[in-house]
Structures are given as C-alpha cells and as structure tokens.
Amino acid sequence: MKKIYLIIAREFVERARKKSFILTTLLMPIFMIGMMVAPSLMMLYGGSEQKQVVVIDHSGIVSPRLQSSKEVLFTAENNMDKAEACKIYNAESGIFGILYIDERVGDSGNVEFIINSSSSLMLEELITSQIENIVEQEKLKERYNIDNLDQMLQDVATPITLSTFENNGTGNNEDMESTSAGINYILGIVLGMLLYMVIIIYGQMVLTSVVEEKASRVLDVIVTSCRPFEIMMGKILGIASVALTQIAIWAVLVIAASKFLIPALFTADVAATSDMMLQGVIGTLGDTAYIAQLFVYLVLFILGGFLLYASLYAASGSAVDSVQDGQQFNTIIMMPIIIAMIVMMSVFNDPNSPVAFWASMIPFTSPIVMIARIPFGIPTWEIVVSLVVLYLSFIFTTWLAAKIYRIGIFMHGKRPSWRELGSWLKVK
C-alpha cells in the first residue's frame, strides 16, 4: 500500500506546483464573481443608447402623456400622415422607429410600431405598458367622470415585495432565514457549474495523463513495481487530491469573505436598501455556517462525482494510444454529464419535481443535479441516499474500469472495438 501513496504524491506534487494550477486557483473566484455580477452590471450600465421614436398620434390622448426615459425618446409628429413619416424617417434619418396610433385606439387597442432596425422585447414591453396605462386612465376619466383620478390612483398604488421564509413550524418569522428563490437560483447555478467543470476538467486530465503514461511507456516501467490497480487508483486519487486542494482554497477564500468582507461592506447600507433581493443575497452570503455547510456537501459530491467518472476516463485512456482516439470515448462519457446540466436547468423551475428528484438519485447525473437542488432546501435523507448511491456506484465503475485498465495499458495499436473491450472484462 505504500506504493499507492508514492503515486498519489507524485501526481499531486507534479500538478499542484504547476503555474497553471496556481493561476486557475486564484483567478477562478474572480471569474465566478464576474459571471454573477456581469448580467446586473450590463443591465445597469451596458444599456444601449437612447432610441428616438417618432409618435404619430391621431387619437390625441397618448402622445402628450408618453414619458421619455433613458431607453427611449418620444417625439410627437401628430400632424404627419403615416406614409409621409415613413418616407422622412427612414433608416438614414437616425430615427429608431415610428409609433402610429390611430383615433380608435381606445376601442381596438391596436398600435403600429414601424421600425428601421431590430426591436427588442424590453423596448416593446416598455411602450405597450405605457400606452396601456394611458388608455386605461383616459377611458376611466372619459366614461366614469371621476375627479382627481390621478391623485386617487397614486394614492392607492402599492408596490408589493414578496419575502419568502422557510417554514420552521413555529410561525415565528422574526429570526428565520429568508430564502429567496433568486439567491438559491444563483447558488445552485454556481455550485452545479463548479461541479460540472471539476468533473470535466479533472476527468479529462485523468484520461490525458493515462494516455501519456501509456504512450511514453512509463507504464511499462511502473508495472514492474506495482499492480495496475494501484497505478490507476494512485493516479485518480492523486488528481482528486489536486481538485480538492483547489476547492479547499476557494472555500477558505469564500468563507473568509463571508465572515469578514460581507459584514464590513454592508452594515448600515443594507438596512437602508429596500431591495429584498439584495438583502437576501447578502444575508445568505454573510451566513458563514450555511456557506461552510454548502462546501461540505460540495466536497462530498465533487469527490463522489469525480471518482465515478475518473475511473471511466482512466479505462478509456488505457484503451487508446493517443488523446485523439480517446476523444471518442470522451464524447460518450460526456453525455450523462450534459444531460445532468440540462436537468439542472429545469431544477430551478421546480426543485422538487419528479425529474429533479430522480436525476439527483441516479449516480451519473446525481452530483450535479443534487448540488444544484441543495440551496433550495432538500430533506437530508435525500442527500444521504444520493451520496450512498453515488459512492456505491463509484466502487462498481472502478472495479469495471480496473478490468479494462490492466489489459488496455499493454495493448498498443488500433483502438479496440466495443466487443474487444467486453472481452477484456471477462479476462480473469
């Protein structure tokens, strides 16, 4: 058994001191934060320039009350006729489009938007909702003749914020954690993506490195010192220890940020903000115990998922002579991982759907799907069952892979067929 430690140690030292490892370990958190922050930053600052829209309003009620905003600038040209406007405000005029409202808009509800370039959903929504409001209020005024309608409407308008809490059975919400679907969604995606990347990147590392050892004939030398199973497990565990080291470093960084950085950054400001979503995010990220618990699950599922797939990658690597040949096996191994990613995306609509449940139990998809479900609050027994199934399957795939590996590493030449691989399994 001492030999397997030597192999693990070699794999670990050779990889962990590479510059690329140190760089990815440090840059990855920055990249992840960037991915999380980028969409909101883009919404805030990246919005495109103000679009000029010419309004031809033959009803006379809409155009005076249209509000220009950062996104769109309305210019009234009520005396123009539609055909004329189309001629003048063509693509060269720099005008984005022409909004044509006829006299009967209150009855028909039809508005035409004639545009010079491609429209966006957001812009269309902005325009329809404004016109809807205007027409609605105008009709109220006109048909029911209520005084001070504007004031009354303003008076009764109440924006609603939905605060979601986990049911702790007491009904006392005061000190309960708020569980916003938004933050769960983000955590689920980050954790799922992390697992996906670790399995793919480190799994392929196993494949490449087995192929290299085989092609360079280093294996021929090592097999005269130890058993093929020790060599295979040594490599898998060595690479796993590299992956875990990387995650441990990230965990320390994130937990430290949760403990010190988040409380320091958001103390008074958070209470002041009315944005519940932001409060939820900060509340969750500032909950160090919760973050630490997530990392424990993350490590368990990453280890299980990686070990499950790594043995398959090792077997594939042993069967071929070049990384290119290995790609064909790689594609097949990737399929359940990609299915897991697709299922993971559906998890966010309903974390407790039958698909989500079963996909987080079946070992090949379970690590990714389960880790994405965990932030939504999953019964512990489900997590335990999923882990047990995962680790039992790892023992099975490793046993299977070892049978292929010990024959494959000595086979040079053409890529074996499935039938040949099957026959290797039968060799005693």
């Binding site: 030597l6 050779e14 360079s216 004939r217 021929d220 030398v221 090592i222 000595f410």
Partner: protein, 309 residues
C-alpha cells in the same frame, strides 16, 4: 547447472500469429545471458512474460525453482525496449520516485543515485527535465533506475540501441560489473559484437522457437568446425601435399609481412592436430597456428538460415 531462472515450454499466441512456440531455456546463476534473434522473433514477448506483464497461454517461469511471486517480480530490474520516463519531471526527482517504488528509502535512494550519477558523469543532469535530454542520455538515466535497487535478476530489452560506441562500451562495463557483484543479467540484442564481448550464455530465438542455446564458447567451438589459420613459407601446392589425408586448405592464401603466407585449413579430426603441426613444422616452416572461431554474427546468420551444422 544452477539456474536462477527457468523458462519452461512457454507458448503465446496472438490473434494473427504465434509469438512463442514451446520455448524453454535455463539461465545460469551469475551469468550474462544474451537473447538473440531477428526482429519479431519473440524476444520482447519472452521478456515481458518473465516480468509477468504478458501472461503465457501455457508453460511457466520458475525463479530459483519456484513459480514467480508478485513481490519477486516487483524486485526484478527490467528496462523495456521503449524507454519510459516522465518527460516533464526532473531527472533526480524522477529517479528517486522509481527507486522508492522499488522499495528504497528516500535518503538511501538519493545517496545511491548520486553515487551512480557521478560515476556515469551525469550529476549535472540532476535538475534537468527529461524532455531536455537526448535519447542516449535518457537511456543512461533509465539504466540507473533499473539497477539501483540491486536486484539479483536484471533484464534489459535492447540495452545498446540508441547508444554511441563510447556509451555502449560504458554500458558493457557496467553490466559486467553488476555481474561481478552477483547479479544475473539477461538482455536481448541485435548487436553481435556485444554478445561476443560480454555474454557467457546465449539463446537464439527464431520464428518463435529456441533454435540454439548454450555457452558462447561451446557454441563457437561447435559451430567453428575445426578451422585453423596457419602462417608458413610454402606454396599452395606444397601445403596441399604436406597435409594430404589429414587436412585441407580453404580458399586463397594471403601474403603477410616477412615473406610468410597465411592460409585457413580445415582439420576434420581433433586427434590429427599434433600430426598436422609436426608435418607443417618439418616441411613448411610453420610460424603459427591458431584456431579460428566463427564470429557470433556468422553463427547468427547461419543458424537463422538453417545452414549451421
């Protein structure tokens, strides 16, 4: 004969061909044992079977008269034909890694390695990466990692390929030195000169079979067929007349310095040698007589062509 390794009736077939066919051989303890044969004869397969990398279809390999155990196999020093080193690893660290896999402690491994490295004059490679070494250089490193744990059985597959003559000689000296320190060395080769210089015993494998086995001296003498070279002062006709009934001159004579002539003769019966010498001495001014051993190269070619004996 005290044999350290005994290969008994090994047969190994692959789908297209038979690699080894009922092959047996005995390796005497403390010998340098050469495994000769044309390309594809089955030498490497045999070495891989001895190391239990490949399993034979039938037959067995005995070490000290007993079937090989796993730990004994792990103790054999085996250098495969295709050199296998991690390209990205530094030479010293890599050598220590292999030595520790063979069971040496870290410090003991480093001490022995530094000793070997300085003797082979490669100490300055210690911190270089393997990918920066030439093929011959990497082979030296591989040789050292193979022998470092001082196994009693050493197996080299084509150890001289890729070496220049100077380094090939260095390797020969090291192989003999290892033998003198008690190791048994088996190696496969095409290099016939190396066989004559360092092998005690050989086996010639051709088309999956053992076609010739024995000590090098015996084989050369047997294959030699009593050919002698004499130097003398007489014409070809005089020589023929002198030797009539006892021996026959072979081929052309050639003149050498001092007016002497060198001629190869064949003496069919050993007991006639003294009589031949007496007559030559009396009538042909015999200056020297020397038994002509055929080169291993000749024997190799003749054995493979089936014209030996």
């Amino acid at each position: 004969m005290d044999s350290i390794l005994s290969v008994q009736h090994i047969t190994k077939s692959y789908t297209q061909h038979k690699a080894l066919d009922d092959l047996s051989l005995e390796v005497p303890r403390g010998s340098v044992y050469g495994l000769l044969g044309p390309n594809g004869a089955g030498k490497t397969t045999l070495l891989r079977i001895i190391n239990r990398i490949t399993m034979p279809d039938s037959g067995c390999v005995l070490l000290d008269g007993k079937p090989l155990t796993e730990s004994e196999v792990f103790n054999i020093g085996y250098m495969p034909e295709e050199r296998g080193l991690y390209k990205k690893m530094r030479v010293g660290e890599q050598a220590i890694f292999f030595a520790r896999l063979k069971g040496l402690g870290k410090h003991e491994a480093e001490r022995r390695l530094r000793e070997w490295f300085s003797r082979l004059d490669i100490l300055n490679w210690w911190d270089r990466k393997v990918e920066d070494l030439s093929k011959g250089m990497a082979q030296k490193v591989q040789f050292i990692t193979t022998v470092l744990h001082e196994p009693k059985l050493l197996i080299f597959d084509e150890p001289f390929s890729g070496f220049d003559p100077i380094n090939a000689n260095l390797l020969k000296e090291e192989i003999l030195r290892l033998r003198d320190r008690g190791a048994t060395v088996i190696f496969s080769t095409h290099n016939m000169a190396s066989v004559e210089e360092i092998c005690d015993h050989i086996t010639l494998i051709d088309r999956s079979r053992n076609i010739l086995s024995g000590s090098v001296d015996d084989i050369r003498r047997t294959a030699g067929g009593n050919i002698f070279e004499i130097t003398h002062r007489s014409s070809h006709e005089e020589l023929s007349a002198t030797l009539a009934g006892l021996a026959t001159p072979l081929g052309e004579s050639r003149g050498i310095v001092g007016g002497y002539t060198a001629t190869k003769i064949h003496i069919p019966h050993n007991e006639d040698i003294r009589e031949v010498i007496r007559r030559l001495n009396d009538r042909c001014e015999l200056r020297s007589l020397q038994e002509m051993m055929p080169s291993m190269n000749d024997i190799f070619i003749r054995a493979v062509n089936g014209t030996l004996k």
